[in-house]
Symmetry: C2
Subunit: 274 residues, 2 copies
C-alpha cells in the first residue's frame, strides 16, 4: 500500500524531512497548515500516517499536540528523533557579502545567533517558518536575502547552502511521532509506550504508581503533569515508559487501570532513542 | 520603595494586567520585547520585579522561561493565576456589522473560534500579539477592524468592547510568576516551592524521591521532566511542591540534596491556587 503521509508545513519543512527519512521519497506527502488538520486527515483516513513534532529540547513538550491525539483517538505508531541542523541558503551565485537580510522562524534565528553575530550588516527578520522563506526566495528570485532552513528545503527550492550547520547548540533534537488511526501490527515487540493517566489526588498516589512501575522494571523516559484540571482533585499525567519485557508492561497497565484511575494508552512502539 | 515592574509585551498585554492587579496602578511598568530582557532587567536591578507567564492550560509549561530563571539565578517570589478573558474591541462608534476583519494572536483567535464562527464575514488574521493590534487600531483609527485582547488593552487604547468574554473555554488560566534578584523577606511562611532536581537515572529513583516527599506530607502540584539531556544518564525535573509545614519541607530538601542529586530551589512563596 502506498503511504500517504500528512505533515504540518510546506515541502522542505522539518516535518517533511522526517517523513522522507522514515518513509522514503516514494511516499506521497500531504501538506496541511495546522496540526489539527493533520490529526483530522489521519482520522478521516485521507492519510495513512501523520507526522507531528511532540517535544523539543528547547521548548519542551508540545501539549496541544497531545491533546489532538487524545481528542481524535489516534495511536502513536512510532517515534523519530531529528537533530535540527540549520543551513544558511541563498539564490545560487549570491555571496555572503551580497546578503543584507536573513529571514526565518524566530526560534531558528535564535538558535543561530552566535553565527549571525559575525555578520552585523545582515538584518535578522522574524518570519512565519523556515521553509516558506526558502520558497519565497526561490519563487521571487530574491537577491540579497538569505533563509535559514533545512537541507531538504535547499534541495527542493534550488537554493545554494553558503554555510552549513550554523546552529549554536549542537545537540538540539526534536522528537516527532508517527500517528495512525489504529494501532498497527508490529514487526517487533514494542519496548516503549505513551500513556495518559488520571489519578485521584490522594497524597502520594503518584509516588505509589511510579514505585509500582519501577518494581516491574519500567523506566520513565518522560513525565509531565497537565497544568489546569477541570476537576481540581484529580491530576492527569502524560508518561512515556521504556521496558524490556512486554509482559511486565502489560501487567503494570493492568494494575494501573485497576488501582489508580483512568488510563489511556496513546501508543506502543519501538524506542528510537539512543 | 517604588516598585519597577518588568514585563514582556506592550501596555495592555496580559502581563501588564497581572502587574497592575498585583502591584497596583502606581507601580512603574518597564516593557520589554522578550522574556530574556525581562530576566536581564531583574538581574541588573533595573527592575525590582519581573512578571513572566510560566504555564497555561492550553500549551503547558513554558520551558524556555524556566531556563531563563535558572540561567540568571533569579528567585520566584510569588505566583498569580489569571483567568484569560478575551474581549472583542473596536474603534468607538463602530458596530459589529461594520467589521470585516479581526486580528489577534493565533492562540487567542483559536480560543474564540466558536464565537467567530457566528460571523463568517469577518476574516480572521493572525497577528503578533493581542495588545499590539488594539494599539494599532487606536493609533491609525482603523475602521472595520477588530482586536481580540484584554480589558486593560481596551481601556489603555480607548477602544470599545462590543462583546465581552468571547473565549470558548471558560477555565483557561495562565499561571504567572513574579521574579526577584534574591529571595525576599516573607510576610507569611511559604507553603509552596519550585525546585529543579537532577537525579541519577537509577531505576526507580524518581519513585523513591516522590515517596520520600509524600512521607513528609509534601504534595506535588506540578512535575515535568526535561526532555533532552546532555548527560544521557541523568534526568532533570521541574517540580512544584505544596506543603503545610515548612520544617517538613526543609527536611525533605535536605534529604533530596544529600541522597538524590543536584538540587536548586528556584523559589519559596505563597500558594495562590484555589
Amino acid at each position: 500500500m502506498k503511504q500517504m503521509i500528512a505533515i504540518q508545513g510546506i515541502p522542505g519543512s522539518f516535518h517533511h524531512q522526517v517523513a522522507i527519512q522514515e518513509y522514503g521519497r516514494e511516499a506521497e506527502i500531504l501538506t496541511f497548515s495546522t496540526f489539527e488538520e493533520v490529526a483530522k486527515a489521519v482520522f478521516n483516513e485521507e492519510a495513512t500516517v501523520g507526522v507531528m513534532a511532540i517535544e523539543n529540547s528547547i521548548a519542551g513538550a508540545i501539549l496541544p499536540n497531545y491533546d489532538l491525539i487524545d481528542r481524535y483517538g489516534l495511536k502513536i505508531i512510532g517515534e523519530y528523533y531529528l537533530s535540527i541542523s540549520h543551513q544558511f541558503m541563498v539564490l545560487p551565485g549570491q555571496k555572503i557579502e551580497d546578503i543584507h537580510e536573513v529571514r526565518s522562524h524566530p526560534m531558528a534565528l535564535l538558535q543561530c545567533k552566535a553565527f549571525l553575530n559575525h555578520y552585523p550588516q545582515i538584518k535578522r527578520i522574524d518570519d512565519i517558518d523556515t521553509a516558506t522563506v526558502a520558497k519565497r526566495i526561490s519563487e521571487q528570485k530574491l537577491k540579497g536575502v538569505a533563509a535559514i532552513a533545512s537541507e531538504i528545503a535547499a534541495e527542493i527550492y534550488n537554493l545554494e547552502i553558503l554555510v552549513s550547520d550554523i546552529q549554536s547548540v549542537k545537540s538540539n533534537f526534536t522528537r516527532f511521532i508517527f500517528l495512525g488511526k489504529t494501532a498497527q501490527p508490529k514487526d517487533q515487540t514494542p519496548n516503549k509506550a505513551s500513556i495518559k493517566i488520571t489519578i485521584q489526588n490522594k497524597a502520594g498516589s503518584l509516588a505509589r504508581l511510579l514505585t509500582h512501575f519501577s518494581n516491574l522494571h519500567l523506566d520513565l523516559s518522560k513525565i509531565q503533569s497537565i497544568p489546569v484540571i477541570e476537576k481540581p482533585w484529580e491530576y492527569a499525567f502524560f508518561i512515556d515508559l521504556v521496558f524490556d519485557n512486554y509482559h511486565d508492561y502489560h501487567e503494570a497497565m493492568r494494575v494501573a487501570k485497576a488501582e489508580f484511575g483512568e488510563l489511556k494508552i496513546l501508543g506502543e512502539y519501538h524506542n528510537r532513542k539512543a
